[in-house]
Amino acid sequence: MTLTPPQHTVLRPHAEHEFAHELAALAALDTHERPPNWRLSPWAVVTYLLGGTLADGTVVSPKYVGRRRLIEIAVATLATDRALLLLGVPGTAKTWVSEHLAAAISGDSTLLVQGTAGTAEEQLRYGWNYARLIAEGPSAAALVPSPIYRAMERGSIARVEELTRMPGDVQDALVTVLSEKTLPLPELGSEMQAVPGFNVIATANDRDRGVNDLSAALRRRFNTVVLPLPADIEEEVAIVQRRVAELGTALALPAVPASNDEIRRVVTIFRELRNGATADGRISLKVPTGSLSTAEAISVVTSGVALAAHFGDGHLGAADVAAGIVGAVVKDPVHDAVAWREYLEAVVRDRSEWGEFYEACREL
């Protein structure tokens, strides 16, 4: 009863479909021990996330670019059946890592609860089909399972996005699930006991801290992995490059060579603005209000590529990214506009190779 059309026609296939060949190759070659109901061993899951070349020559693309240690801790956590909380500022690949972990471990990244201020307990536990409930009384058939319920049933990974946006009392519905691995069903006089392999990956945003902070009881059920912003510019350029190429293919954009220089410029600008200082540390800058993470850099470059392909000369140039950059930086019309103008005049103008970009920005 899925509404998903055959996979090649969707805009953004789930990880388990997009990388099905990698997962299959890993499963075939994986000799390490697998925890119950895991599709792959922890070792293979780490390889899937960080990339590598397998014994049979299959190249596994890196999904997460960053410190190996973090992914190892995340996978080891899930292997101990403790829940995993991915924490970080926006755009640090929390959702992305969570999806790939679920895909690699359970072969299914779709058991997902999206946390919002309006999330209700039923979305974490179960709801009722009221027509049936009234007609037949409480029965298993009238129960509408939540993604977490289904994950418990199957021994899969369930994902909870933006955990801290949910109201505190709704969050606490997770406590029993995580510690007892059971879901009481008082209406049916029974309970749902999780099958081995069940676990939860939650993501939460560092910036939202203080909104609905996790209760100590819930926090204690999670191991926390903090995903940092990329350590240096090379790493960040590599991430953007890789993701832009992948997205270009997915969006069927005409092949536009995404020039390395242009990517480097976008990444440099974002890093400098969010650090509040130029890379050489000489000039201090106002920090814009919006988040200027790798994710924003990726989307700026991707839309630049689209512009160049459809309206430009087929090459990604300064003019193609300028509008995207300004749009990403200037979120607050007053403060950010000042920050951007200062950056433009104090930094961009004086960089000799950035003349064209400077002109492009001034024309906006």
Binding site: W43, I73, A76, T77, A79, T80, R82, N223, T224
Partner: protein
């Protein structure tokens, strides 16, 4: 047995191999002249971490430390040999030779310490581990060497690997060549003595150099011929885990001695859980949350991580990663790093063990005073009314005199003249070497401190320096210093043309007198000097106060206050007659800076020499039309001395000043505003608010008077407490 210095894995292998081999003699890479000190191993008071300290007799700063922890393979070899009655021989080049070289050979490390190992590959086991892609040499040893089987085969593997690492490299530096020649000579000697089963415990690096068959002895004999020698003293000194983290002696610094000690003590699989239990205790001690659930999660995560990384068992990296993720964001992580990974352990050395006489006396004094050296910073409160408090204080001050800073008196709390003294203490092992450096000053702490202070006094002619020496001598209860230095002070004060120096000497001297009272020292000599100085001050004060510029006036104001405080502290007779008379002259003279005039008036007010009316007159004169506004403003600043209290309590005075400010002509007002602003800006916020209210007539002066209806019985109760607080007998 090729070992990694301070490697717990090596240590365990050594113990196992010795038990298997049952050697008749154990040869250890250790300077040969340290052998005698090994007789102390096995003494129950010799507790690692400890170090052997070798120093050149006449130049104690030329020294080498050889630290040992419980998990050092050499230490374990000593312990095994002692327990089994097997002789130990130290086979490395004697310190007599290696310390003789001097910087000319390029082998003296910084700070006069000597780094004994200087082969090209630093830590060869670490180099092997790095080649195998593991940043943690201990874990690599664990994984690769330890898990190959029992002790002996492990060492074969090490020997093989080292032969490959060394390749064709022949002991390159002259020093290395001499050391290995010496080791071979010792090995030959053991063979000649008829030993059949000889165990040699040495750094893995040297194993190939000692491989059988040995080369002809004549070559080695030539290498060692005619080397210069120095006299060396060897002693045991307590060491700390934190110090082990520094590179000194054999082997580079150990980054995680606390963890190593743990791994050595608990090699079994339960070691990880134990470590987390220790961590939880530490956290709870500091009031941080650590539930059993955290421990279980930590242990399980560490184990899962080890499995994922293909390690037989979790190492430090896994344990820290697990702690990190389980307790993300807790302030406890830094604590764990400091206390468990590095650690605060401090060793112990028996009384009778070889030590320089001064160090031995220090140990005796420490025991008498019941003060144990501790590696972590802590505070000590002393009550100087008790004999124990006095003796502790004297010992600490004597060490201060010897420039062995075990601790420092915490300012503000142990203020002068009270019965209380608060010390911040922390014993660093390098203080041991400071003690040895001072060994030449005497064989006991008392004698050495006396000599050191006399030396300092002889080297100076400045009155302030002499007083500083006296100060220390009084605190340290060193009567033998007081008399000669007092004589010097007297002579110096008589000849010093600068009365300012004499004034500045007064304060410290008064404090020293006061300590004398508190500590019951005889201070007659000191009091005589003090009297002499007071006479000089009275004679010269006016001269010193005339014709000063703003900065000099500001400094002088503080000195006048210092004199008054010194006189009050000692309850000197001049306080009642001569000094107020002097101040009166100062405040009246027109060639004295306004600031100084003002402060003199204030001191007269504070000392009770002037009545209120007199004070009021003087202030209003300073603020009347005849006085230039700038001088008036300076007077006010000097008079108020940075606080508005006097105005809050004295309505009349406040009115005088208020009237003056209100009556200033516009020009004069503008020019005096900066000065006034500086004066009033320095007041406490609360004072300013209160003054504002008073001037706006919204509050009444809260004088110190009480109403007529004081309840005598209840007041008496309060007085009991006040007396107790001030230390006044009931």
């Amino acid at each position: 047995m090729g070992i990694r210095h301070h490697g717990p894995g090596s240590a365990r292998s050594v113990v196992r191999a010795l038990a298997l081999l049952q050697p008749t003699v154990v040869l250890v890479e250790l300077p040969a002249d340290c052998e005698a000190a090994l007789a102390w191993v096995g003494h129950e008071q010799l507790q690692p971490p400890v170090a052997l300290l070798g120093h050149v007799i006449d130049q104690p700063q030329r020294a080498a430390f050889l630290p040992f922890a419980s998990f050092s393979p050499e230490w374990q070899a000593f312990v095994w040999a002692r327990a089994h009655g097997v002789p130990i021989r130290a086979i490395d080049l004697p310190l007599q030779l290696s310390l003789a070289g001097g910087a000319a050979d390029g082998d003296g490390a910084g700070d006069g310490e000597l780094l004994l190992a200087d082969h090209p590959v630093g830590d060869p086991i670490a180099a092997l581990a790095a080649a195998a892609g593991d940043p943690d040499p201990e874990r690599w040893w664990e994984d690769v060497i330890e898990h190959r089987g029992d002790g002996a085969p492990a060492f074969d593997a090490v020997a093989e690997a080292m032969a490959a690492v060394r390749g064709g490299w022949e002991a390159g530096s002259v020093r290395e060549a001499r050391r290995e020649a010496y080791m071979r000579q010792c090995l030959r000697m053991a063979l000649a003595d008829g030993h059949q089963r000889i165990a040699v415990v040495c750094g893995a690096w040297h194993v190939p150099a000692l491989a059988m068959p040995l080369p002809p002895a004549t070559v080695d004999a030539r290498t060692l011929r005619g080397l210069p020698k120095v006299k060396v003293g060897v002693s045991w000194v307590p060491w700390t885990h934190r110090r082990l983290a520094f590179a000194t002696g054999y082997g580079a610094g150990v980054r995680s001695p606390g963890w190593y000690a743990h791994v050595f003590a608990h090699p079994g699989p339960e070691g990880v859980a134990r470590w987390f239990v220790g961590a939880a205790r530490l956290l709870r001690d500091r009031g941080l949350p650590a539930s059993p659930d955290h421990l279980i999660a930590g242990t399980r995560t560490a184990t899962a991580l080890a499995a994922l990384r293909g390690r037989p068992r979790p190492g430090l990296v896994e344990v820290l990663d697990a702690a990190d993720t389980v307790m993300a964001g807790s302030t406890g992580l830094a604590l764990i790093e400091r206390e468990l990974v590095v650690g605060d352990a401090i060793g112990e050395v028996p009384e009778g063990a070889p030590q320089v006489p001064l160090a031995r006396d220090l140990a005796t004094q420490q025991r008498k005073a019941r003060l144990k050296p501790q590696a972590d910073a802590h505070t000590l409160e002393l009550d100087l009314r008790t004999p124990l408090g006095r003796s502790r204080s004297a010992l600490l001050h004597r060490l201060q005199a010897l420039e062995v800073p075990w601790g420092a008196v915490q300012e503000g709390r142990g203020s002068s003249g009270t019965f209380r003294e608060t010390w911040g203490l922390r014993w660093e092992p390098e203080l041991t070497i400071r003690v040895i450096e001072r060994a030449a000053h005497g064989t006991t702490v008392q004698v050495a401190a006396t000599n050191r202070l006399l030396e300092r006094a002889a080297a100076t002619t400045a009155l302030a320096d002499l007083i500083a020496v006296l100060d220390v001598a009084m605190l340290a209860d060193l009567g033998a210093v007081v008399r000669p230095v007092v004589a010097r002070v007297e002579a110096q004060a008589a000849h010093d043309p600068d009365v300012v120096q004499v004034i500045e000497a007064l304060g410290p001297l008064a404090r020293a007198l006061r300590y004398g009272d508190v500590r019951g020292t005889d201070a007659t000599a000191l009091r005589n000097v003090f009297d002499g100085l007071v006479v000089r001050v009275l004679a010269g004060a006016l001269m010193a106060c005339r014709s000063l510029d703003d900065d000099a006036a500001a400094a002088m104001v503080e000195r006048l206050a210092g004199v008054q405080a010194a006189l009050a502290l000692t309850d000197h007779a001049a306080r009642r007659a001569e000094w107020p008379a002097m101040l009166t002259i100062i405040t009246e003279r027109t060639d004295v800076h306004g600031l100084v005039q003002g402060r003199a008036a204030r001191l007269l007010h504070d000392g009770g020499a002037w009545k209120r009316a007199q004070v009021g007159n003087r202030v209003s004169r300073a603020l009347s039309v005849g006085t230039p506004p700038a001088v008036g403003a300076a007077f006010v600043e000097g008079f108020l001395a940075g606080s508005g209290t006097v105005l809050v309590h004295d309505r009349e005075l406040l009115e005088v000043i208020d009237a003056w400010v209100s009556a200033l002509a516009p020009d004069a007002f503008v020019s005096t505003v900066p000065l006034l602003r500086r004066t009033f800006g320095a007041f406490e916020q609360a004072e300013r608010r209160q003054l504002g209210l008073l001037l706006a007539d919204q509050a009444r002066a809260t004088g110190s008077g009480f109403g007529a209806d004081v309840d005598a019985a209840r007041a008496a109760l309060a007085l009991v407490t006040v007396r107790q607080m001030l230390g006044v007998p009931q």
